[in-house]
């Protein structure tokens, strides 16, 4: 066996590709486009999955809302104390929050009140919470919110319009630096008092109550107990939320799956076309090479180089283009499928998730299959008797 790379064979392969330059160019372009599309889909789904996972991880184990006539009403703060008395409950916190519609920009902000270090925002608030002065009237903004209100004149404070038409001025205390951008991009955090004032809620009411349970296995039992204690409440567990998040994701990734199938289909048409045979010219060339002393494996090596050059080049350009498209250009068009419902969400950046497995998967879906499709028909042809060439 000659194991050293034979540069003359590589040279011949390159020459052979250049001889059919339009065919080579066409296949390279199509392959690059397909790999680009595939990679983009994988990169985006990976990133969004990562986003959702970190969002789901930070969800409360149990959320309790007050329901009347199928609608959601503010709940008494005292309910939290009653829930805390249930065995197995670690904590029960009354949350104060709501959606504030900012008319100038036509978007909704999620306004969340906190009055201490709250577990739910642990990840995102660790750094900024210190800077938030609860006594004064200040707030911390998601990056998307900050961008929008900056565009609408407000640089240092924001005037909320209360239900009675009067204004509530809140100073901007800081901006989130967060790893769960999908969720917190439209969030404003301030003291509970400020939120109550903006939404005109009374002191003894809260939006909902979040409950932590000591033992995860008891979530369902505790939820049932709460429901029995307050039949007029809706008790939502983390699993319920997980499922609805997952549903949104599944629905959207269905669209991606469709794109994925289309590109695979196109790829296999190319493969099929290649496998269906060589032109008589190509067959003759293989016959000539064998007649002048090339072995079958020399022919196959040469074909391997041809396939490798085309598919590896396409793979590299496709993946690099996709990285650029998804993480630098923020995947215009494709990303809207995921984040199109709110103007705010469009400024959301996909977190960069470098995943060797994805890259390897795309590699194995493209390069070896293409190389095999290049080699197999040549192998069939080269394995025949070469004496056709003397006719």
């Amino acid at each position: 066996m000659r194991t050293k790379i034979n540069i003359y064979l590589v040279e011949y392969a390159i020459n052979s590709l250049l001889r059919q330059k339009y065919k080579t160019l066409f296949i390279t372009l199509v392959l690059t486009a397909l790999i680009f599309l595939l990679s983009s889909i994988f990169f985006i789904t990976n990133s969004i999955k990562y986003e959702l996972q970190s969002t789901v991880d930070s969800l409360p184990e149990i959320t309790v809302q007050k329901i009347n006539g199928g609608r959601h009403y503010d709940i008494e703060v005292s309910v939290a104390d009653d829930i805390l008395a249930i065995t197995g409950v670690k904590s029960a916190v009354a949350r104060v929050w709501g959606y504030y519609y900012f008319e100038n920009a036509g978007v909704n902000f999620s306004v969340v009140g906190i009055d201490e270090y709250e577990e739910q925002y642990k990840n995102s608030l660790t750094n900024v919470a210190k800077t938030l002065d609860f006594s004064a009237s200040s707030m911390i903004l998601g990056a998307g919110v900050k961008k929008i209100i900056n565009e609408n004149y407000y640089k240092e404070y924001f005037n909320f319009i209360k239900p009675d038409g009067t204004l509530k001025r809140v100073d901007i205390g800081g901006v989130f630096d967060t790893d769960t951008e999908l969720e917190s991009n439209d969030v404003i955090v301030m003291s509970k008092e400020s939120v109550r004032e903006i939404f005109d809620m009374s002191e003894n009411k809260a939006t909902d109550i979040v409950v932590k349970v000591a033992n995860e296995d008891e979530i369902a039992t505790v939820a049932l107990k709460i429901k029995l204690l307050y039949p007029d409440s809706r008790v939502i567990t983390k699993d319920d939320l997980k499922i609805s998040y997952q549903n949104i994701f599944d629905y959207k990734s269905g669209i991606f799956l469709a794109l994925f199938v289309v590109s695979l289909f196109t790829f296999f048409i190319i493969i099929y076309d290649k496998l269906s045979g060589l032109s008589s010219e190509e067959k003759r060339e293989i016959g000539v090479l064998k007649a002048i002393g090339w072995r079958v494996d020399d022919v196959l090596k040469e074909k391997f180089y041809e396939g490798f050059i085309v598919s590896f080049f396409s793979y590299m350009s496709g993946v690099i283009l996709a990285l650029f498209f998804v993480y630098m250009l923020r995947a215009p068009l494709l990303q809207n499928i995921f984040t199109g419902y709110s103007q705010l969400k469009t400024s959301f950046t996909l977190p960069f998730v470098f995943d060797m497995q994805t890259l390897a998967l795309i590699f194995f879906l493209s390069v070896p299959i293409y190389i095999a499709a290049t080699i197999i028909p040549s192998w069939r042809s080269a394995a025949l008797e070469a004496d056709e060439v003397i006719r």
Binding site: Y8, Y12, V288, K290, A291, I292, G293
Partner: protein, 223 residues
């Protein structure tokens, strides 16, 4: 004895009801350094003999021995090695690769050997000079005349300096002047001690001084 064909029969099976006996129990010995002309009408089996000697195909029965190797029993890879090291085949249709240059065509048999550039260059220059095509080295083969293309084909057949030269209808596409210059080339090759088999029905070859023997074949049988 250089080439020996023993009781060679070659049958082509076109389909179930149609078989062609291209060679029928042929015996032929060609000595080292001999120049033999295979003479016969179209379809008589000349090309078939050449392809069997070159191990491009296998006989249906019988045995072919070249020097000490039993060519008819070689596996595909060894047959390739055998051709590369021992046989220079000048095909009737030349079988050059038109889009490659003269140089690239000539060194084609050397490609799998992965030799040093210098060695390749030496071998190339030797045959370019020998067959007078140095000045065309970098031209594309498709832009050459028929006579020039044949000289490229001969150069390619000789680049590895094989002991045996097989030429199939070498003058079929040449005018008289070029045919005569082909005979000059044959003289040179013979002077180098090569064993040469020319398959042809061109009468030009039948009374040549350099030809040692004319073997006539008729419908697959030697006369």
């Amino acid at each position: 004895m250089m080439i020996e064909l023993k009781n060679i029969t070659k049958i082509y099976e076109v389909n179930k009801n149609n078989i062609v006996t291209a060679l029928d129990n042929i015996n032929l010995e060609i000595r080292e350094g001999e120049l033999v002309v295979l003479k016969g009408a179209s379809g008589s089996g000349k090309s078939t003999i050449l392809s069997l000697i070159a191990a491009l195909s296998k006989p249906t029965s019988g045995e072919i021995v070249v020097e000490t190797s039993r060519v008819s029993k070689l596996s595909d890879n060894f047959a390739s090695d055998f051709r590369r090291d021992n046989i220079g085949f000048v095909f009737q249709k030349y079988n050059l690769i038109p889009a490659l240059s003269v140089k690239e065509n000539i060194i084609l048999p050397l490609v799998p050997l992965n030799l040093h550039v210098k060695e390749i260059e030496e071998k190339l220059i030797r045959v370019l000079k020998m067959f007078h095509i140095e000045h065309k080295e970098n031209q594309l083969v498709k832009n050459l005349s028929g006579g020039e293309q044949q000289r490229v084909a001969i150069a390619r057949a000789n680049v590895n300096n094989p002991k045996i030269i097989l030429a199939d209808e070498p003058t079929a596409n040449l005018d008289e002047k070029l045919s005569l210059s082909f005979i000059e080339i044959l003289k040179e090759l013979k002077a180098e001690g090569k064993t040469i088999v020319v398959a042809t029905h061109d009468p030009l070859f039948f009374n040549l001084e350099i030809v040692d023997r004319v073997v006539e074949i008729h419908q697959g049988v030697l006369l």
